[in-house]
């Protein structure tokens, strides 16, 4: 800075020295960073010159500017300055163009800024990756738990159906036998039917119904006055038709063994017929009863 000004001042003292040595001395003595004082001095000088009626060499700045601009003179100085100004204008335009590009923010950034931006982006990426990982874990967990809940629900439904068959709350079908007891003489009593039911159960019967009444664990049989039997309080009359689901190969022999149910009934003048069937439908239902006092002790 000071070098440039000094060279300007020296230059000024050289060029103005011929015309006005006092002015040159004044300019040289002036502080460099006070252009106002300098220009005031120049203005004062110009006024003096104008008052002194000296034309030509001591022009005002404005006149010098106009003279320099017009008429155009092709001199070595003008050409060199034009070349330099061309370079300046070129650089200016290029810089402005490159700064106003879409990626100008990054293009103009310095190396350390770019490194910092890159670091920040890396950090951000890392954070987002972590977050994504956490969310994915959460999702997997939720999916697993919902799978488990679904599985548990299926098992519960399955178990409910199995227990429902045992408890008589749902219909059941499958292979089995039908046992028909004809009682023309009225000699069949409740205990005989109970024996038949016990025998069937012992042989692995899974669902039993008698004349439209489901036989379950708590079923009781009683003789009715005037013939007939009541099953769980429902009076049924001969012929007694047992529909039994179980393995036919086990159930039939169990009834037919010597001294078994069939022989006992025949001894009492009743006829018992056993038929195997591939498909027995036990569709008599029993209302599910909520126990009043007993509660599940599991869990």
């Amino acid at each position: 800075m000071s070098d440039d000004d000094k060279s300007d001042s020296k230059n000024g003292s050289k060029s103005d020295g011929r015309n006005d040595p006092g002015e040159a001395r004044l300019r040289a003595e002036l502080p460099e960073e006070v252009p106002a004082a300098a220009s005031e001095a120049v203005d004062g000088r110009t006024a003096d010159v104008a008052a002194g009626e000296v034309p030509g060499p001591s022009l005002t700045g404005r006149q010098r500017l106009v003279k320099g601009l017009w008429p155009p003179r092709v001199t070595r100085a003008q050409l060199i300055v034009a070349l330099l100004l061309f370079g300046l204008g070129f650089g200016l335009a290029v810089q402005v163009a490159s700064t106003s590009d879409s990626d100008g923010a990054l293009r103009g950034a310095r190396q350390e800024d770019l490194v910092r931006i890159l670091d920040e982006l890396d950090d951000r990426t890392q954070r987002l990756e972590d977050e994504k990982q956490g969310l994915e874990d959460q999702r997997t967990e939720l999916e697993n738990s919902s799978d488990q809940a679904e599985e548990a629900r299926k098992q519960t439904v399955e178990k409910e159906r199995q227990l429902g068959i045992l408890a008589g709350t749902v219909a059941a079908q499958g292979p089995g036998i039908t046992l028909t007891i004809e009682d023309t003489k009225g000699t069949v009593e409740a205990d005989m039917l109970l024996d038949a039911i016990q025998e069937l159960r012992a042989a692995g019967a899974e669902a039993i119904q008698v004349n439209g009444v489901r036989v379950v664990a708590g079923t009781y049989l009683a003789d009715e006055d005037g013939g007939g039997v009541s099953v769980d309080g429902n009076k049924i009359d001969a012929p007694y038709r047992f529909k039994v689901i179980g393995k036919p190969q086990d159930l039939e022999p169990a009834l037919n063994i010597p001294g078994g149910v069939v022989q006992t009934l025949e001894k009492e003048q009743a006829t018992a017929t056993v038929e195997r069937a591939d498909k027995i439908v036990v569709d008599a239902l029993r209302a599910a009863k909520q126990p009043d006092y007993a509660r599940s002790s599991s869990r």
Partner: protein, 110 residues
């Protein structure tokens, strides 16, 4: 007049050609442009003062550009490139303003 034409032609050429700035020069170009602007204002003031000399102008122009670029280069090497280039821009800006003030006094007499 030729000089003003040179400036105008340079701006137009820079806008039309739109060359890719080489990566080596890229950090120095803005500072160099500001330094050259400072030299140009200094030259304009000298011309209005009637003390313009083309040799001084050329030397100050080139040395301004080179020194500015050198300072930025040195700052980059020292790790204070951003601060140093800010300082250079501030100093050059002050000079440009003081030169502009002198020019203003010449042209508008105010």
């Amino acid at each position: 007049m030729i000089a003003v034409l040179g400036l105008v032609v340079g701006v137009v050429a820079g806008l039309l050609v739109r060359p890719e700035v080489p990566a080596v020069v890229e950090p120095y170009l803005p500072i160099a442009v500001v330094a050259a602007l400072d030299a140009v204002f200094g030259g304009l003031r000298a011309m209005l003062d009637g003390i313009f000399d083309d040799k001084v102008f050329v030397v100050s122009f080139l040395s301004n550009v080179v020194v500015a670029a050198l300072i930025v280069f040195l700052g980059d090497k020292l790790g204070v490139g951003a601060q140093l280039s800010t300082g250079v821009v501030v100093v050059l800006g002050i000079r440009i303003f003081s030169n502009a003030a002198a020019i203003r006094r010449h042209v508008f007499r105010a």
